[in-house]
Amino acid sequence: MLVDNIDLAMVNWARAQFALTAMFHWVFVPLTLGLSFLVAFFESLYVRTGNPEWKRITRFWMSLFGINFAIGVATGIILEFEFGTNWSNYSWMVGDIFGAPLAVEGIFAFFIEATFFAVMFFGWDRVSKGFHLLSTWLVAIGSNLSALWILVANGWMQYPVGMAFNPDKARFEMQSFWEVLFSPVAVSKFTHATTSSFQLAALFVVGVSSWFLLTGRHHTLAKRSILVASVFGLLSSGFVAFTGDEAAFTDARVQPMKLAAFEGLYQGERGAGLTAIGILNPAKAPADDQDPFLVAVKVPGLLSLLANREPGSFVPGIRDLIYGNPAEGIVGIDQKIGRGRQAVSALAAYTAATAAGEAAGRAAALTAFQQHQDFFGYGFLASPEQAVPPVALTFYAFHVMVALGAFFPVLFLLFLVWTMKDTIAGKHWLLRLGVISIFLGYLASQAGWIVAEVGRQPWAIQNLLPVTVARSNLTAGAVQTTFFLFLALFGLLFLAEIRIMLRRIAQGPASF
């Protein structure tokens, strides 16, 4: 067998640990991605106008950027190692494809960040104004380039393209670098993740500035910062909506189960409605006829429009995908599991025949394998229901994300209008809402990743490799131990980060 036993406890601890690390990492990354550009805007204004107030603004936000950046670096290295430590079967089976973007990220992006970060922080008196500005821009570009490569890697896991299985090595190998790079999922992942990060950073700047206005301090800094950030936030919001729509459209094509899960859609239909607000029925199982919702408000036809750009089109539900729907040409997972098992046993026969030097057996096994190889991953599922991701978590995360995504542009617009009219300092309710929205920004960002990652369970690589096979050969106890070690370390570092950040904000731009 490819894997001798499936230790679910170990797999679940490994998943928990990866989720912990990734979510913790993602607390810091979006702010880095967006704030780096905002700092570059502020500094560009300084260089253009020569006004020292812009320099003070630049340096204040830059100091917050630095505090956030360090812990982003610290958590990033863990993720890279964890692919190897906790998912070593994965690392071998797809390393030929997955390793490349990680290495490219190192070469093209990390060194730009590391090199020019030092200039940005310590180069004020050591390099020319122009070179300093260039360095600040390069840090922003470098950070976002690193996001590009890691999201290309992630996009490939959601939609594996440009590769083929090599039965001699029992691994997937790359066939086209460009297909991997320009896969529609990679493109929509990158654009959605970066623009939503710009939005989050804009919320951060607006929120902190709001707090300054509420406490009657640093008025010039706060108003100028709000002006730049709300324009940036508003523009980003447009892109977030557009790229989000694009992401849902690609999901419908390549991960229909994820789409069905985040909409709580069990029974597929034509002209499917989009749930605006809903409470799921916790007792619902795919096979029964219960209503999936306790309460739901739906917008008729909108889901079909979103998924297929055609209001009356058919959107498959969880049931259709599990049990098949011949009328709509959907093959059920029960059938796919059957074919997957044939692929797995053909691979075993092929490997055994190769070891024994039986040419005829080898050729026959290879033919059998090739017939069913597209379903390879399904061969490891114990039941069709295992192919369904946790519906509630995916559903609520998606709806929280979308609701907040609709709210943020309104917020930015209000801030922008009243800042331009110079009446913002008196709008205390809005300023309070601005402060609260920092947290809402993080909530939306984390929710987005929950949709993307929980929604593609049980797959590490969509349809090809379930997490149960992708794991390392470790005991549950070992992974459990490191889970708690990381939890303690992260908790400590997180508290320190928050305290330092709050002190720095309380200090304001005074020291620059």
Binding site: I71, T85, W92, G95, F98, A100, G106, S472, F512
Partner: protein, 379 residues
Amino acid sequence: MIGSLGLDILQKLWWLIASLVGSLFLFLTFVQGGQTLLPFLARSPEEKSLIVNSLGRKWELTFTTLVLFGGALFAAFPLFYATSFGGAYWVWLAILFTFVIQAVSYEYRRKPGNLLGTATYDLFLLVNGSLGILLIGAAVGTFFTGANFTLNAYNLVAWTHPLRGLEAAFNPFNVSLGLFLVFVARLQGALYLLNNLDCTAPAMKALEGRCRRAAFGNLLFALPFLLFVLFRLLTMDGLAVDAAGRVSVEAGKYLHNLMAMPLVALLLLAGLVLVVAGVALARFGASRRGIWLAGPGVVLTGLAVFCLAGLNHTPFYPSLADPAKSLTIANASSSLYTLTAMTYVALAVPLVVGYIAYVWRLMDRKKLGPADLEEAELY
């Protein structure tokens, strides 16, 4: 042109590229070495601040090089990545922890509200510089002494020792290599500080003297471990792999490698001589540029060691549990397509090295002196 290179050539090329990145990392561990020197070199808060800020402007470069080393191994030799990281779990996690705590320490150590206090973050820097480098050395040592793994028919790893990698830290050869790297990092740290700090001010003379003596002292500490490592390396048995992929034990394998690859012997010799010359220049001369001899010396030495481990039909990750399953650059590598694509990407490396060198020169034209401690952004 790259598209026409054969798989065997690309495998060697990528072993060299990964070795170069690893060796550059060993040079850049002057940051870690400097961190461990902090209690010995700094006699006043100002001196401590100068040292930390001098190292703090380079730490990310070291860190990023380590990340790239991991990334390059993943992309070019995924079977090694999967086998070693997934197998030698505890040693890699221990290394990882020492680098995670380093990454926040510079930024947080003196910031108000930092929760743990400056002393804790300085302790993190010390742990990273000592234990972190020692364990990396022990892990590299397993390229020669082997590791306790086996692979199933599908190349999936199982580890055969309950300590899951930490057992490497109990092997005298591995530990000696680790300690050698710690002392080399320290001597480089002293040489880097000598070069990077503005020692012209009278108040800095004492610190300058301490840096010069520290470089020499740490070279002396490094020597016995170097001699032991070299002696063992040239006398130990190694594995050899033939054209059909059959693995056998060969007495004096690494000595044979050295003789079969005179260029590698030359690299090793030149590297060690440069390290000694760099230290001698600092200790017995007035020059501050010892790091520019010792640093390249470390790179050359590192390259030689990696070449001995992986080239000349030598498994670079010998399996103690099942020698036939040992990893070679041939059986652990990525496919021809991926290595080719990655080689195109690697063409950008000189550009990257170029801008790093340019910015380094630009930023270090003016040496770091007491006047810089007035700056708003300080570690």
